[in-house]
């Protein structure tokens, strides 16, 4: 599904990713853990194609295609979804309008028929109920005045709505209370499917108790320095990053 080979990427002239190699197969859930500033969010932005994130070496192949030549919106319509660490506020644009615009833009790009207002509302309501996103929130401007946890739940609602093939979740668990964490995990687990891959970025073992990963990768200074099964997360929790990084060196 996703093949990243020897990836180097710069932001503002500074190299952040320094030879990152990672491969995620269809149907798999991988976790990425790593200290602050190690390049986790940078990786997610590079995958999504954010402007200003310049690839200086290596390759990214998604479903056999070169991902790097596609525009961010093309990637989205081809099934790349990024739940952001800091979801963005858009004043004056209601959440429902945003969801409708996005859903139909993706469908249009894929040559599918657009869904009318009633259809969108039905779809959104169904997903919103699962994420405990209220009708009132859907009428408010996108993310404006939403609490941290509400923003994160809305990201997962969007994931459920767009049904992406590759979902990258950047610290979706941070800022969530226990109940919301379970809710989000359930949402993610419900989407686990043989034709879908997920990359879960997190600092905490706790999320991985609910979303059990097939593989865990440790990212440090722009490279994967250690890989393992779900037990690696426990080891990290016990030893801390510093020790693991030392061991790897």
């Amino acid at each position: 599904m996703l093949e990243i080979k020897d990836l180097h990427a710069k932001v503002d002239g500074k190299e952040i990713l320094k030879g990152l190699t990672l491969s995620v197969g269809a149907g798999e859930v991988h976790a990425i853990m790593g200290p602050n500033g190690s390049g986790k969010s940078t990786l997610s932005y590079v995958l999504a194609g954010r402007a200003g994130y310049e690839i200086t070496g290596g390759s990214i192949t998604y479903k056999g295609e070169d991902l790097t030549t596609m525009s961010p919106d093309q990637r989205a319509s081809k099934g790349v979804f990024l739940a952001m660490q800091y979801p963005v506020e858009i004043p004056g644009v209601t959440t429902l309008t945003f969801l409708k615009t996005a859903l139909n833009a993706q469908r249009r790009a894929r040559g599918e028929k657009e869904v009318d207002a009633v259809g969108v509302l039905r779809l959104v309501r169904e997903k919103a109920a699962a994420m405990k996103v209220s009708e009132e929130m859907l009428k408010r401007a996108l993310n404006v005045g939403f609490s941290g946890g509400e923003k994160k739940r809305l990201e997962i609602l969007q994931m459920a709505l767009f049904q992406p093939a590759l979902a990258v979740l950047d610290e979706t668990d941070s800022g969530l209370d226990i109940d919301a964490l379970k809710l989000v995990a359930e949402g993610v687990n419900a989407l686990r499917a043989p034709d879908r891959a997920m990359l879960v970025i997190t600092h905490y073992q706790r999320l991985l108790d609910y979303i059990v990963p097939d593989r865990v990768h440790v990212l440090s200074a722009g490279r994967i320095i250690k890989e393992g099964g779900k037990e690696l997360a426990h080891e990290l929790e016990a030893k801390g990053y510093e020790q693991i990084i030392k061991d790897a060196a």
């Binding site: 402007a51 525009s71 919106d73 989205a76 979804f81 990024l82 979801p87 506020e89 996005a102």
Partner: protein, 482 residues
């Protein structure tokens, strides 16, 4: 309805400016240039009574003594007022025809503009007094309005048929010598709209006029006069588009609104004239004087404008809050792209007690455009407890454009409370990225964000026009983020 047709046209014409076409209809013109003879020619063409001609000639005499203002933040080559035509009318248009008698080419033009003049208008409940260049050629819904006692007609017709009302109110809000452009308009105004809503009548439908400058090199001098008598209510919509031209075309309209005791007037404009091309060539010069007078106590006047067109916009719809407890509102979206220059805002003149005004201005600049908000809030000594709230937000798209806010505040009564808030922001990269990441293409993302930014103003427009205005906002900013 109109919006859909309009959108189809965009695709069909495939040009940057979707209204860039010229209708080939025989025109009847006054000789080029401006003199007493031109004024007399226009007056004669309109079969005007003597007092009207005197009024025009008085204005012309004043205008000759006046100089063009230069304080606005707009730059343009000197206008040669002797090198323009001041009157153009489609030939062979006998007065008061039914729609079937209208030149089919003219109707074709309306179709291209997306104006559903036929049954759609009935469904939409909108009456249209369509102005084609300088003469009103088609008016609908007269009967229904007649029943309510509402007068809605061409001003040239009102001058003949309702001369007492016109005499009483014309020039009573914008005096003949108010400013250079208003005085010019007073001398040579070609046609326009007249509305009178009698005491206690709520106008049964939205009134609407589409303007269209068509004749090559013809200055357009619209004159609008709207009177809401005691306790009356009227909502009026003005929308306009002009064909593409390389020479600059001068437009100097005057709009006067009078609200008597307890009356309310809502005036909405969607202005989409040719803005010039990407290199700043051509486009309409739009020098407009719009003013409302809350003459009676508890009256209310509300201006809503969506300004996306014209090379130069010089426009300050204002309200004189003369009566006690009167309310003035100004909601504005001004978009300037490429080389457009907009200097627009409002004046709220508080004369009466407990008068309230509210100003919401949203300026959007893109390309190399300059967008200035210029506003005056003036509280006179007798205006006890006057209140004003002003909010001016500017949005910049790209690094080469400018936004300027010039608020003037004169408070000559210590009980006045004036609040002013101003923000300037850029379309944030993270907002754009968020939209793109969710599959929304660049242009659509810009349009979504900008429409969100303008929401408070768009909400003020009647439903059908809000949809069209949203589309206009999108179209006028296409390709602005590269």
């Amino acid at each position: 309805m109109a919006a859909i047709e309009t959108r189809e046209k965009v695709a069909e014409l495939g040009d940057k400016y979707k209204y860039g076409f010229v209708t080939d209809i025989e025109m009847e013109r006054a000789p080029k240039g401006l003199s007493e003879d031109t004024v007399k020619y226009i007056s004669a063409k309109k079969n005007e009574p003597g007092w009207m001609l005197e009024w025009r000639l008085g204005a012309f005499a004043r205008w000759k003594e006046m100089r063009e203002p230069n304080w606005a933040r707009v730059h343009y080559p000197k206008i040669d007022y002797q090198d323009a035509y001041y009157y153009a009318a489609p030939k062979n248009t006998p007065k008061k025809q039914s729609l079937d008698e209208v030149d089919p080419k003219l109707l074709e033009t309306y179709k291209k503009l997306g104006i559903p003049l036929h049954e759609q208008m009935a469904l939409a409940g909108v009456a249209v007094d369509a102005v084609f260049d300088s003469v009103s050629v088609a008016t609908t819904f007269k009967d229904k309005l007649n029943e309510a006692g509402v007068i809605f007609c061409a001003i040239s017709e009102a001058i003949r048929d309702h001369s007492e009302l016109v005499k009483k109110y014309l020039g009573s809000v914008v005096p003949v010598s108010d400013n250079f452009f208003a005085t010019l308009n007073s001398a040579v105004f070609s046609d326009g709209t007249f509305v009178y809503v009698p005491k206690g009548v709520r106008c049964p439908m939205e009134l609407s006029t589409y303007f269209r400058i068509n004749a090559n090199n013809t200055g357009q001098f619209e004159r609008t006069l709207i009177i809401a008598d005691e306790g009356a209510y009227v909502s009026y919509l003005e929308g306009c588009t002009a064909p593409k031209r390389d020479e600059n075309q001068l437009h100097a309209a005057v709009v006067e609104l009078i609200a008597l005791e307890g009356a309310e007037i809502k005036y909405s404009t969607v202005q989409n004239w040719y803005p010039g091309d990407e290199n700043g060539l051509g486009g309409i010069y739009n020098f407009v004087t719009k003013r409302g007078d809350c003459r009676g106590a508890r009256s209310k006047i509300s201006w809503t404008q969506v300004e996306t067109g014209s090379a130069i916009t010089w426009k300050y719809p204002s309200v004189i809050l003369r009566g006690d407890d009167t309310v003035g509102e100004f909601y504005s979206i001004a978009i300037a792209n490429h080389f457009q220059q907009a200097d627009t805002g409002t004046k709220m003149i508080h004369l009466g007690k407990n008068t309230k005004s509210r100003i919401i201005s949203k300026g959007i600049s893109a390309g190399k455009a300059q967008n200035t908000y210029r506003g005056l809030v003036s509280v006179h000594p007798k205006a006890e407890k006057a209140r004003n709230y002003t909010q001016c937000d500017s949005l910049l798209i790209g690094g080469e454009c400018g936004a300027h806010t010039v608020p003037y505040i004169e408070a000559r009564n210590p009980t006045a409370r004036i609040e002013h808030e101003a923000t300037t922001s850029k379309i944030a990269e993270d907002q754009l990225f968020y939209c793109l990441q969710r599959g929304i293409p660049q242009d659509e993302a810009v349009s979504l964000i900008v429409n969100g930014f303008c929401k408070e103003v768009l909400q003020q427009l009647p439903m059908e026009f809000a949809v069209e205005a949203q589309k206009l906002v999108s179209i006028s900013l296409e390709g602005s983020v590269g």
